[in-house]
Amino acid sequence: MANIAVFIEQRDGAFKKVAWQMISQARKLADASGGEVWGVLLGGDPAAAAALAGKHGAHRLFAAGDQLERYDSERYGTALAAFCRTQKPDLVLIGATALGRDLGPTAAAKLGCACISDAIALKFEGGAWEVRRPIYAGKCFVDVVPKTAPAIVGIRPNAFVAQDGGGAAAAVTAFDAGQAQVTPRAIVREIVGSDGGRVELTEADIVVSGGRGIKGPENYVLIEELAAALNAAAGASRAVVDAGWVDYSHQVGQTGKTVGPNLYIACGISGAIQHLAGMSSSKCIVAINKDPAAPIFKVADFGVVGDLFEVLPALTKAVKEIRG
């Protein structure tokens, strides 16, 4: 029997939707392998998490709140390790978010178990978990098999689809997260938001990105307007970031963010391999570029060969009409 634990990330009480994507996928795997799906919540509201976790397919929710309201790697790492030692899940799934990428290896080192980062697919094959992840900037996929139980696996946001199975709220069990033994040294003094209300790149359903083709910082507004009309996140190529037109937190690519939205719209971006590294797992890719030979068209599903200064305003207007 293989029990899969899914880490439910919350910040200020808001849950990351990657948790429901992972629970939905874990439920399929658990049904096939004869196990249960458990949510693991640190801090936050157990009742709210249990309702959503149950709806997406979790059987149980393990919750610990003591001193865990705000993330720090020492407290959270100790808590997740304590959970694994007592409940012995076979597999632990954590969203490959800023928090998850920190927590996964921290807990794995405490447990001496395998940790695999940023997976896009997961199966149970030949009696073992097989984890697929892109390497070399997405130019290659590798299938990795962990040799320990538990194994911790980071899952790229949007790799799986959240499915509302309509299940009842998961039964909540409180657990001792071992906080009595930790005095954290690295303390988060303050959290500062850089861009209030902005849709976050790594978890957006739609991303609109601008490249050097936008010509100057004043024209990035064309990207932002289309993004706003689509309720999308706004990204950029490195050329735009290095020119100082937007903050580096917008950069998509090998040395920027990895995104996997349903729709990625690349505007005035040539499609360099390092840019593709960050967005080639997008489900639908649209390229808007005046050069028909631009490499971006090789990965795009739909393309418009044209001047973005003419195409974008018209596209924004059309989208607004469609979306009311």
Binding site: P105, A186, E190, Q254, L263, S280, V286, F302
Partner: protein, 258 residues
């Protein structure tokens, strides 16, 4: 202040990966190798700290002897004082846990106040090593930093999170992983590359570190090419505006993505 910077030599990002059939091994002959771009931020930050308060910087890597050129040009020539290469055939194909174990053993011998890493290597893209090493050494870590201020025996770092940043206070010694935005790495000058040849570079094995080569916790089953994407459908119209309207219609009605 004693600073260690852990670096990796990686295939440059233009490298072509040829995988005709599913393979359990990757043919790496012919790869051009460079310093991992994220590690350049770690090296630069170490050099800036040394310039501001003095100290000594040791660059440490696990890899074959071919890493010497990269260490010389991108670490020693820009301000690191010495380099340690852990070269052991038993580590070929080692996973993150094993590499972290080896690095931790080497770092333990140095008594460093600050240990810097890049957030991830651009070849295997895993982003775990710095954090694993911190845990193995029992040190606090701050990952994905974009700003660093050092106090007396403490540091304050800005760490990138979704839509914002965390401001973290941490005592030394500590482990940090460096992200774009932290600084602008300098380029080595030719005279400095020449001079770097005189700086000490030590090659050690696991046995020299008093270590049996650690076992990997994962196994690679196979490498495969990413799935091919379909051909691009060009959407057209009488003019750019008409093409844009048609694109919106196709995305809405056919692809159903908006």
């Amino acid at each position: 202040m004693k600073i260690a910077v852990c670096v990796k030599q990686v295939p440059d990002s233009e490298t072509r990966i040829n995988l005709a059939a599913p393979a359990a091994k990757l043919d790496q002959t012919g790869f051009t190798r460079v310093l991992n771009p994220y590690d350049a931020y770690a090296v630069e930050e170490a050099v800036r700290i040394k310039e501001a308060r003095g100290g000594e910087i040791t660059a440490i890597t696990v890899g074959p002897e071919t890493v010497k050129e990269t260490l010389k040009k991108d670490c020693l020539a820009v301000g690191c004082d010495k380099a340690i290469i852990i070269n052991d055939p038993a580590l070929a194909g080692a996973d993150e846990a094993a590499i972290a174990e080896v690095l931790a053993a080497a770092l333990k011998q140095g008594g460093y106040d600050l240990i810097l890493f890049g957030i991830k290597a651009i070849d295997d893209d895993s982003g775990q090593i710095g954090i694993l090493v911190a845990e193995k050494l029992g040190l606090p870590h701050v990952a994905t930093i974009t700003k660093l201020e050092l106090g007396e025996g403490t540091l304050t770092a800005h760490r990138e999170i979704e839509g914002g940043k965390e401001i973290v206070d941490c005592p030394l010694p500590a482990v940090l992983t460096c992200q774009k935005g932290l600084n602008e790495p300098r380029l080595p000058s030719l005279p400095n590359i020449m001079k770097a040849g005189m700086k000490p570079m030590q090659v050690v094995t696991c046995a020299d570190l008093g270590l049996t080569p650690p076992a990997s916790l994962v196994e690679i089953r196979q490498y495969s090419p990413p799935p091919a994407r379909g051909t691009c459908r060009l959407v057209t119209g009488d003019d750019a505006a008409a093409a844009a309207r048609e694109l919106a219609r196709v995305l809405n009605e056919e692809a159903k993505v908006i």
